[in-house]
Structures are given as structure tokens and as C-alpha cells.
């Protein structure tokens, strides 16, 4: 991104001054190096988002921002329905409520080591992953609607997990006001065989070791110690969410709010029939994602206890990064109910936030940043300052630095798997090409992204995780 087009407000805050139709400025949080590497499209897309009605304070981009669909990936924007605010299908994304869930095991790396290869095989066998994989749970029409209303709460009630899991999931594991009747028959049909599946692309299941603790006060509250074993699951709402995104993007392009600077920004007023239908369908898809990650958690627990009996896997946290949620924020001194879009960005609530469970009130909300199969992932914690910076938001991952086509030209899947195995990272996959496309070198430096998120004040680093096993979606 061209530095000349930005006003530098502080070391890590860059401003696109409002011009033309922009109602608010665009704000990018990043260091100078990340800004230089950032796609020019991020500036263009933030500028467009800033023109939408009802937008509050600013259109924000996180340190990992890159070219998305209408909204940049790594974008945050909040809209006030009282001021004609809108909801955008592109602002949420196709993989509605895609997110990361971290499980804390009661194992250390030394205890896992003798069973590592067996565990990799067991996880690969039990968790359906990749194109064309199907789950073992088939839902009838009525049960599908129950799942879409109940989310992870539905899954726990059916025996996939324990009630304690729910307090460590946003909104207690269930998006309220979901409307399965606003989800198309096609979307439900697409989900018929996909419950409890990981998906493909950048989705993964990793067994990781805590390699470094940054915040020795917060880490014990999250149960984290050096060399502990953590499991991270990255996936979303599967076929149902993809179809809801597809269906409503088309309707919003045809019938949505006008005039928009770019068709990708198709949206509808929150207080319109279309806006309300999308919200109902999006929340149903959110519940599908939460139920899906809950079922996968159950399968992971089964794989662990089969090999290492009595292993406890506690849910550390589950955070979604493709969302639109109703939240209360202070704007110009007024407390308002806003619809906060986070596309490739997570919440980052600081200590004392009313939506946090009692066990996290003293520290804040865990922010889970996924890396790649060969590099680090991070657990950060939300800050109070993040509220003023970006409606309590932080980044979600490393972000690609190279296209899939470039990656497959540069790397070979089989060779990468062998190289990673030599470094102690066991990859399990059905697709060598998929591994090449997701090569660690095709992503930005996640260390830099996590560090800048902390330096900008969006969230604070607690722990760095390194992969030991990766089941590739």
C-alpha cells in the first residue's frame, strides 16, 4: 500500500482521510513493513466500506488485512440501524462464522511424544477432512432446524461434549434469533452429509505445543504452561454457510440498498425485510458452525482417549472470525446498539466485559490467531483499549502473501510433508496439491502480525504455539 496515501496517526495507526462519498475515515492498524506489503485493494475496499450508510467511527483494517470481497479480509465495520445502517453478506463472508477453537489437554509434549504418530493417524481416521469427505451424522429436516436454532447447545444436548464447554464459546454456544426458515432448501441439502467435517483449503486440525509464554499472569488463568499440548480446530459453517452466503449475495445484488460503489458491497438496510431475513439465516449458519466445531471436538476427544485413556481436553475458547454481531458500544458519548461486521477479524473483549464468562472476567477474551501447518499460532488476550481502537477487535491469522497458483509452482506437497516431518511436524492429508497450496511460505509472517496486534494495542500476546500434528482439510 502506498504510504503517501495515508496519514500516520501513530506508529501503528494509519488513516485514510475521508474524501468524496466517504462518511467516516478508514483506519489501518499495522507497522510500516506490513503496510508496505499490504495490497492496494485494502485501501480501495476500506474506502468503499466507509461510504455505506449508518457506519460508525471508521472502517477498520487489522494488521493481517488483504484483498477480500467488498470488505477487505481483516476488516471491521459497525453500523447503527437508527441511522439507516446496513448488513452486508460480503461483509460477513461465504464461510459464515468460520473460526478457531482451542482445546487445552492435560498432557505435556513429553507425554505425547511416544504416541504422536498413532495420534496423527487416529485423528486423520476419525475427523472427515478434505474435498468430498462426509460425516457420519445425518440430520432429518426437523433435526436440522433444531441444530440451526441451537448451535453448540444442540450438539451438547445430543451428547457431543459437556455443558462446561458452552461457557467458553461466544454467546454461550448459540446465536439467538436464528431463523432456519430463512435458510434455503438447497443450503440445508448441502449440509446433509457435512456435519462434523473439517472442510478443505486453509482449514485444519492441529496438535500444538506451547513453545513460549509471553504473559505469565494471564497464561495460568487459561491453564497454559510451557510445553502443554493444545489442539486447535479451524473450520466454519460448511456447505450450509457457503450456500447462505451465495443465496443472499445474489439477492442483495439484485434487491439490496442502492447506490453502492461496488457490487461486491451488496447490502440491505438492517431494518428491511431482506436485512432481517439475512440476519436470521446468518445466525442459523453461525449455529451450524458452532455445532460443527462441537462435533469435531467430540471426535478429537474420542481419538485422544482411545490412545491415552482418561485424557481431559477442556475447551479453552471458541472464537468466530466471519461474523456480524449485535454489540453495545459508545460512540460520541452515547451507548448504542451496533451491528459489528468482522470479516477475517475476531472480537477482542477486554477484562470485565459483560459478555465474558466469570472465569475470564479478570483477564479478557482469548483471541486465537491461526498460523500455517509449519509455523506458529498464537493465543492473545483482549484489551480494554481495543474498544476505542476498533470496537474491540483484533486479527485472525497470517493472511496469504502468495496465490495458490504461485504456491503450487514453487512447492511440491510430498516434499513439503517430508521436510516438515524432519522438523517434527506430522502432516496427514489426502491431497499433496492441497498441501502445496497451503505451504507455510505462501503466508505472511504470523509472528509479525501477532506482534503488531500487541503493539497497536488490539490484543496482548499470551502464548506462542508450534505444530506437532496437522490434519489438513
Amino acid at each position: 500500500m502506498d504510504l503517501q496515501s495515508l496519514t500516520r496517526r501513530s506508529e501503528f495507526e494509519w488513516c485514510i482521510e475521508p474524501t468524496g462519498q466517504m462518511r467516516v475515515p478508514g483506519i489501518v492498524y499495522a507497522g510500516e513493513q506490513l503496510i508496505r506489503e499490504m495490497d492496494e485493494k485494502v485501501r480501495e475496499q476500506l474506502t468503499n466500506v466507509a461510504t455505506l450508510p449508518g457506519i460508525q467511527r471508521a472502517a477498520y483494517a487489522m494488521p493481517d488485512a488483504h484483498w477480500g470481497y467488498g470488505f477487505p479480509i481483516g476488516g471491521v465495520a459497525a453500523f447503527d440501524p437508527e441511522e439507516g445502517g446496513v448488513i452486508s453478506a460480503g461483509g460477513v463472508g461465504f464461510d459464515i462464522s468460520c473460526g478457531v477453537r482451542a482445546l487445552h489437554t492435560a498432557l505435556t509434549a513429553d507425554q505425547l511424544e511416544p504416541r504422536k504418530a498413532d495420534l496423527a493417524d487416529a485423528l486423520f481416521r476419525k475427523i472427515p477432512a478434505g474435498v468430498g469427505s462426509t460425516g457420519t451424522i445425518q440430520l432429518g429436516e426437523q433435526e436440522m432446524d433444531e441444530m440451526l436454532r441451537g448451535g453448540a447447545q444442540w450438539a451438547v444436548a445430543r451428547g457431543y461434549g459437556v455443558p462446561e464447554d458452552l461457557e467458553r464459546i461466544e454467546e454461550g454456544g448459540r446465536a439467538s434469533d436464528a431463523k432456519p426458515e430463512c435458510v434455503s432448501h438447497q443450503a440445508k441439502k448441502r449440509q446433509a452429509h457435512e456435519m462434523g467435517t473439517l472442510g478443505s483449503g486453509n482449514h485444519y486440525l492441529e496438535v500444538q505445543r506451547v513453545a513460549e509464554i509471553f504473559d505469565s499472569r494471564t497464561a495460568p488463568v487459561l491453564g497454559l504452561q510451557q510445553n502443554d499440548i493444545v489442539v486447535s480446530i479451524h473450520c466454519g459453517s460448511r456447505g450450509l454457510g457457503h450456500q447462505v452466503g451465495t443465496d443472499y449475495l445474489k439477492i442483495m445484488v439484485i434487491e439490496g440498498w442502492r447506490p453502492i460503489p461496488d457490487r461486491e458491497l451488496a447490502c440491505a438496510p438492517i431494518r428491511s425485510e431482506l436485512g432481517q431475513h439475512y440476519l436470521g439465516a446468518m445466525r442459523a449458519a453461525t449455529n451450524c458452525a458452532l455445532a460443527n466445531r462441537q462435533i469435531i471436538t467430540h471426535l478429537v476427544r474420542g481419538a485422544f482417549t482411545e490412545l491415552i485413556p482418561n485424557t481431559k481436553l477442556a475447551l479453552l475458547y471458541d472464537v468466530s472470525h466471519n461474523t456480524c454481531k449485535i454489540e453495545r458500544h459508545v460512540v460520541n458519548g452515547d451507548s448504542r446498539e451496533l451491528f459489528v461486521h468482522r470479516k477475517g477479524a475476531t472480537r477482542s473483549f477486554g477484562p470485565g466485559h459483560p459478555e465474558l464468562p466469570a472465569s475470564l472476567q479478570g483477564v479478557g477474551q482469548p483471541v486465537l490467531i491461526g498460523g500455517t501447518m509449519g509455523t506458529e499460532s498464537y493465543i492473545l488476550i483482549g484489551t480494554s483499549r481495543s474498544e476505542d481502537l476498533a470496537f474491540s477487535s483484533a486479527c485472525h491469522g497470517a493472511g496469504r502473501s502468495m496465490s495458490r497458483t504461485q504456491a503450487t509452482k514453487r512447492w511440491q506437497g510430498r516434499k513439503l510433508i517430508d521436510e516438515l516431518a524432519e522438523r517434527g511436524v506430522l502432516i496427514r492429508t489426502r491431497s499433496y496439491r492441497g498441501v502445496a497450496e497451503e505451504a507455510p511460505g505462501a503466508y505472511k509472517d504470523v509472528n509479525a502480525v501477532a506482534q503488531v496486534a500487541e503493539q497497536a494495542g488490539l490484543a496482548r500476546r499470551v502464548a506462542r504455539l508450534v505444530p506437532l500434528i496437522c490434519v489438513k482439510g
Binding site: G68, V131, K250, E264, R404, R433
Partner: protein, 144 residues
């Protein structure tokens, strides 16, 4: 009068995190058909897919660009619900409506060298138009 190049083909183009599909040919139908091959090539190795099953589809939209997106999304839907991959496509358009024939087989992850599933065709970098040499071009970014 424009001279029409009698070639058809497809290619991928770069997008930050996803991938663009582009089809071109002497008619709009061929451009749509070729873009569909490009879509399959995002997911798997097209040359390894056998032609054992045929699926008929229909879609419509208010304009040709949205018709193209609907066409690709219809294929993505059929791939997902039938767990199939398609290698041959036949399109007949009538204004902003389309009937299509998809030919392929059930997914075999190892034989087909599947890489990634397509979540949806987007309106990003969406273009359907006739170029100066008479060739039709149809393209958009696919979310994977």
C-alpha cells in the same frame, strides 16, 4: 464486422487469498463452458475425471454477469450435494436464462488429486463481455 477468433480456453488468475477463473471462446456459451472447466481445475486435476454421469441444470439472473455467477454456483452446488466432479460442460443460453449439461463422476480424492473445495462464485472481478477481436470472455473470483 468483427473477425471472431475460433479458439476457446480457460485460465486462472490471481486473487489475494482465493483464485480467479476465466473462460473464453467464440460464443458466450463456450466462454461459460470453459470457465466451468477452470472452476473444476481449482478443485481437482480435470484430466483424471471420467465421464460416467450426466446432470442437467437450469439457472437465470437479471443480467449476463449475474447469470455467469449463477452458472458457476449451480455447478458448485451440484458438486457438493452429489459429491461429484465434472469435466465436460454444455451450455445453451436464452437471454438471461441458461440450461446446462454437466458430465463427470463421483469424487475419488486420491485419483482426482483434489486440492480444495469451492465455497462460492463471487461478484469480485466479475466480467462477461465481448472483446474487440470478437471473443467472449467470462470471469470472476471463486471463494475457496
Amino acid at each position: 464486422m468483427l473477425s471472431v477468433r475460433n479458439t476457446a480456453g480457460w485460465e486462472h488468475f490471481s486473487h489475494g487469498s482465493d483464485i480467479g477463473v476465466r473462460g473464453f471462446g467464440p460464443s458466450i456459451e463456450e466462454a461459460f463452458e470453459q470457465a466451468a472447466v477452470a472452476l473444476t481445475a481449482v478443485v481437482a486435476d480435470v484430466s483424471r475425471i471420467r465421464e460416467s454421469e450426466t446432470v442437467e441444470v437450469r439457472c437465470d439472473a437479471p443480467d449476463l454477469e449475474l447469470l455467469f455467477v449463477s452458472w458457476l454456483n449451480t455447478i458448485i452446488y451440484e458438486m457438493a450435494v452429489r459429491t461429484m466432479l465434472f469435466k465436460k460442460f454444455r451450455v445453451v443460453t436464452s437471454g438471461c436464462s441458461l440450461t446446462g449439461t454437466l458430465v463427470g463422476e463421483k469424487v475419488d480424492p486420491e485419483r482426482h488429486q483434489v486440492a480444495v473445495e469451492a465455497k462460492g462464485a463471487t461478484v469480485t472481478a466479475l466480467r462477461v463481455h465481448r472483446e474487440q477481436d470478437g471473443q467472449w470472455l467470462a470471469q470472476c473470483v471463486v471463494d475457496v
